[in-house]
């Protein structure tokens, strides 16, 4: 299986770290992984995205042309990526910020109130963790356990963050699982 996932949102929404955690989790599962960011000059407020491949096959082209799933955290991201998702794929929409509905019928769409959940948990910085949980639930790209591990690795110097973020991940996960 080859998961090709795009994550996209405003600069401050943490999509880069989110993608790295996913890739790291895949690596922990001995899968072939790669993470590729969009990069550009400083245009804060612009939209940033990254693409992650988690695959059981040997590594191939590291660039994603037709994602198997996409997470869009703001409206411009929805506009940009909805049409690119592979037929049969997954689209996760941050319904807290995006009122607009998806139009594609050949993909599975989840509307997750990412900001609201994070706000509820008391830390807007965790929206990316909520989204990550949702993504894992919707795609099964990696196990939840691996995501926890990858978080622990990446933030090894800040173990106190673990608990709250775990909750955020779980909330996102549950939100999709219950959908």
């Amino acid at each position: 299986m080859k998961q090709e996932i795009i994550m996209s949102g405003f600069g401050g929404q943490g999509v880069m770290v989110m993608g790295q955690l996913l890739a790291y989790a895949g690596m922990l599962e001995e899968k072939t992984v790669s993470w590729m960011p969009s990069y550009g000059p400083e245009m804060r407020g612009g939209t940033a995205n990254c693409s992650v491949i988690v695959s059981d096959e040997a590594s191939g082209a590291p660039i994603i042309y037709e994602p198997t799933s996409a997470v869009v955290l703001n409206l411009p991201s929805l506009d940009k990526f909805e049409s690119t998702v592979k037929s049969g794929g997954v689209l996760i929409i941050n319904s807290s910020l995006i009122e607009k509905e998806a139009t594609r019928k050949d993909i599975t769409v989840y509307r997750v109130p990412v900001n609201d959940i994070a706000a509820e948990l008391g830390n807007l910085k965790m929206i990316n963790m909520v989204a990550l949980g949702a993504l894992v639930a919707a795609t099964g790209a990696v196990s939840l356990e691996s995501v926890y591990k990858s978080f622990a690795k990446k933030f090894a110097s800040k173990p106190h963050l673990m608990e709250a973020n775990k909750i955020a991940i779980n909330r996102g996960y549950d939100c999709v699982k219950k959908a």
Partner: protein, 67 residues
Amino acid sequence: MPKPVFNEERCKGCELCTAACKKELIVMSTTFNGKGYNYATCPQEEECVGCCLCAKTCPDVVIEIYK
């Protein structure tokens, strides 16, 4: 009466204008504009003395002051 007019979509929510207005008339919106920023507004525009300090401070020429 002078009146500040904001080009909301151009506002980047930097808040420099809020500090510039000696009359403290400018407040940030709680909603977002199309670019995702909270934008500057002047709810009590009748209090404006037309000093133009807000406009001169804005890096994005968001504000025009009408006579």
